[in-house]
């Protein structure tokens, strides 16, 4: 089966050409604005990035891959914008991010190759749940776990590398929910008993889901990471809704969230701090302290206008940790409303495409898997962009594919590869 077919995946190649042009232009603008000149040797870094993207394309062509041709160019287009922003905001981290990209490309290729049959993932669903749990509690372990910026969500060896395991947990969680809900969605959507409009499924069927969710919540409270908690809860509700079509579950879930948020606000200092900052970042006690990051982000947005300050000419470096937490504000300040709209539209196309892959998928498990994975990208984008714009409390979620950070880059490329696998199976089943 493995043979090179010349001429295949031309659509993908054409889209990659646009990504190349976009990345090179953005990079030239940023370097030229910073140093007042542009030397040709400086083009080496974006070319290296493009070489990785090209290698992914050649890899897909060489294994005769039949999956979607738009998803990978969209992902690498976003990553390309990410590299422009890393060069703009934290040039010292550029080589490290390039290393992460190479590892992410490797993870992408492995995800494409290794599970020969995706339904194997469904068969080992409790293994995935267990693995997710272990990854989730790993930062709490004494030797490898470490706390950075008040959140204990990292594992790693000091000075070598750190990793945020919850990024991987989100994929394990989607696989588990997809497999579990495929098996029991009948019981959950058409339960024998109803309490008014509320379906009451037999308790044993709900237990594994609720247990997994509860542990995720508890661990997150101890690891002090609001964003991941929100993301897990969102995945849980979205997949329950996708599988059963019961809006009641979503309503109950949202009520639980509001209730839980109220309790957490009064019980945990780190939650209260986030919400106070969100409500009044310019408060005289907060604006130079905990609210500083958000106020600087808001100044960045206010400075944007329609066309922005121009790539390289804004002052986004005033925002602390801008390269991982506030890339959206930084990008918006320099390319304006027009550029920000373009960036959000890229995410829109990615998610729409992912949902289309889910619609076309041949089995319920694959549909739920693709739907859940697409939901992750949509939800993360919404939560972090809204957080950066002070629409909702700020969380530590990363902007998928764009923000600086190894863990998020690697997992998002694995996510993209899984979506591609689903579309590949669909293409092979259909003709």
């Amino acid at each position: 089966m493995i043979r090179a077919r010349p001429g295949a995946r031309l659509g993908e190649l054409r889209m990659l050409m646009w990504v190349a042009a976009l990345l090179l232009t953005g990079y030239v603008a940023v370097v030229a604005a910073a140093s007042g000149r542009f030397a040709w040797y400086e083009i080496a870094v974006p070319l290296a990035v493009l070489a990785v993207f090209g290698a992914l394309h050649v890899f897909l062509v060489s294994i005769g891959f039949r999956g979607d041709q738009l998803l990978m160019p969209l992902a690498v287009g976003l990553t390309g914008i990410g590299f422009v922003l890393v060069e703009r905001l934290a040039p010292a981290l550029l080589l490290q991010q390039l290393t992460w990209l190479v590892i992410a490309a490797g993870a992408f290729a492995m995800t494409i190759l290794i599970p020969r049959d995706l339904s194997v993932l469904a068969r080992f669903k409790y293994t995935w749940a267990l693995l997710g749990m272990l990854l989730l509690v790993s930062p709490l372990l004494p030797v490898i776990g470490r706390e950075i910026n008040g959140a204990r969500i990292w594992v790693g060896v000091a000075g070598v590398a750190q990793f945020e395991p919850w990024e991987l947990v989100k994929i394990a969680l989607v696989i588990f929910f997809a497999a579990y809900l495929e098996e029991y969605r009948e019981v959950l959507s058409k339960p024998p008993r109803r309490f008014g409009p509320i379906p009451v499924p037999p308790v044993p069927y709900l237990l594994p889901i609720v247990a997994m969710w509860l542990v995720a919540m508890l661990v997150m409270v101890f690891e002090k990471d609001l964003g991941a908690t929100l993301l897990f809860f969102g995945i849980f509700l979205a997949m329950l809704y996708l599988a059963t079509g019961e809006p009641v579950y979503v309503v109950i879930g949202l009520l639980l969230l509001v209730g839980g948020g109220f309790v957490a606000y009064h019980a945990f200092g780190h939650v209260a701090a986030r919400i106070d900052v969100w409500l009044a970042p310019f408060d005289s006690d907060l604006r130079f302290d905990q609210g500083y990051q958000l106020t600087q982000g808001l100044f960045s947005l206010a400075n944007a206008g329609v066309l922005g300050a121009g790539l390289g000419s804004g002052m986004p470096e005033r925002i602390p940790v801008v390269w991982s937490d506030f890339v959206f504000d930084a990008f918006t300040e320099e390319v304006g409303f027009v550029g920000a709209l373009g960036l959000l539209a890229l995410y829109l196309v990615f998610v729409y495409r992912g949902m289309l892959i889910a619609l076309r998928a041949p089995t319920i498990f694959l549909q739920l898997l693709a739907g859940g994975l697409s939901f992750i990208v949509a939800f993360q984008t919404l939560v972090i962009v809204a957080g950066n714009a002070k629409l909702i409390p700020l969380t530590g979620i990363t902007l998928p594919f764009v923000a600086y950070g190894g863990s998020s880059l690697i997992t998002n490329y694995m996510l993209c590869a899984l979506l591609l696998r689903v579309s590949d199976i669909t293409a092979k089943v259909r003709r």
Binding site: L22, T25, L70, P73, V349, R353, R360
Partner: protein, 148 residues
């Protein structure tokens, strides 16, 4: 000299935005194409389930108004092995064939004894079968209708 550099820089910045949107437009177009293909596939599936509606019948035959769903190729006749079974002594065991090809429905006599009548005239060849056309087999009349 200073001005030309600033102009160049802005040209590159604007080019970045234009490229971003050109990339987006292509992505949207590709997405739109996928959606239209999907819609065409769905409507093709729906076309395949057009139906014959009984307009005239008798005691032992199907009820008047009953919808008999069609497949891409459906055989009509008295024999129980047909896709559409008509219990009528004037119908042959294998009487007629209704098929969907080239985006159209077609009606064909399958060598029946008493013949297949389309809109009042007996057919000898494979004939176009329009929505609303009526076919008579023995004492039973059926009208071709779109899927609901």
């Amino acid at each position: 000299m200073e001005i030309t550099f600033a102009v160049l820089l802005w040209a590159v910045r604007i080019a970045f935005l234009i490229l971003l949107y050109l990339f987006l437009i292509r992505a949207f177009r590709s997405l739109h194409r996928a959606l239209t293909d999907e819609r065409a596939a769905i409507s093709a599936r729906q076309l395949g389930i057009a139906a014959l509606v009984v307009t005239r019948s008798h005691g032992g035959g199907p009820r008047v108004g009953e919808r008999l769903p069609l497949r891409a190729v459906s055989s009509v006749g008295r024999d129980a092995g047909n896709d559409i079974v008509l219990n009528d002594e004037a119908a042959s065991a294998k009487h007629a064939i209704v098929s969907f090809a080239d985006g159209e429905w077609w009606l064909e006599d399958a060598g029946s004894t008493n013949g297949t009548v389309l809109n009042g005239s007996r057919i000898w060849d494979k004939e176009r079968f329009h929505y609303g056309d009526e076919v008579s087999v023995g004492r039973i009349a059926l009208r071709l209708e779109r899927a609901q």
